[in-house]
Symmetry: C2
Subunit: 180 residues, 2 copies
Amino acid sequence: MKSLYEIRFSGSGGQGIITAGMVLGEGASLFDGKYVVQTQSYGPEARGGACKTELIIADYPVNYPKPILADILLAMSQAAYDKYIHEIKDDAFVVVDSSLVQYKPAKGVYPVPITKLAAEEVGLKVTANVVALGVISSLTKIASYEALERALLSRVPRGTEEINKKALALGKKLEFKDNV
Amino acid sequence: MKSLYEIRFSGSGGQGIITAGMVLGEGASLFDGKYVVQTQSYGPEARGGACKTELIIADYPVNYPKPILADILLAMSQAAYDKYIHEIKDDAFVVVDSSLVQYKPAKGVYPVPITKLAAEEVGLKVTANVVALGVISSLTKIASYEALERALLSRVPRGTEEINKKALALGKKLEFKDNV
């Protein structure tokens, strides 16, 4: 494990990208003892358009974020993938929603049909952001599964706890192979 | 109106400070046509402790935030007030939850018993963050009331729309006087 990770979650408005970042940030800090800074930008074009949040998760206090080369990239839309795939470190983990994105196979690129899994396995497409978190936890160990689950359950609307737990748990079942 | 505002919302964990910032950021960008960058930090100490989010709302695209002197400060806890009251511009608006904070009267400092109003007028203490947003909109015009309401309603759990609208609307009824 490194002592500092730069993380970028990106996709379209309405996919819950920023919420996923908040769950990761809260989980890593409150329950895993890390320091986290999270940034999101909104523009007039954000409506249904590109959307991203960036986190720095570190073992020590961090001040303000700078434009980053990601250690971990989540790309949930074609536009997000095209825009950010080159802004990564050599040893980055890249998780691509292969049900939405045409990607180029490469070392460190993990295609997972996230939105399709959310619709078919969880039964609710809008849980794709939570499925993505489960995948990232399972693959990268950036936050413990327990921390994410606690942060998730403190944030989701009452009555949706079970379906969200199911969505998060999906990631644990997957086997990851570099797509090369 | 200035063309760029620096805004700091601060309080305790669990008060919905970060959510309030997201509603403001989404409202200002999606419905008022502004550019927004929002940052929040979490530390292991955040649990029940200090909590803040910072936004830059501008008429033009902004990159990354720097440590800021606020144009608008919301202080929902004593610790937040004590920590940030000196990090403001000369012409800043300061909104203090006077039901929770001992503050020093000064030009630009607006005491509002936010949490008390949420409990007594709305009937639900946890809407204090939404009451605060209504107060800030009414006082500073940083985002239009309509934009905030649309952003709010797209974010709150189904079934809580009416109580959240009521909480936001409270700010419109208040009369503001500098407390000097």
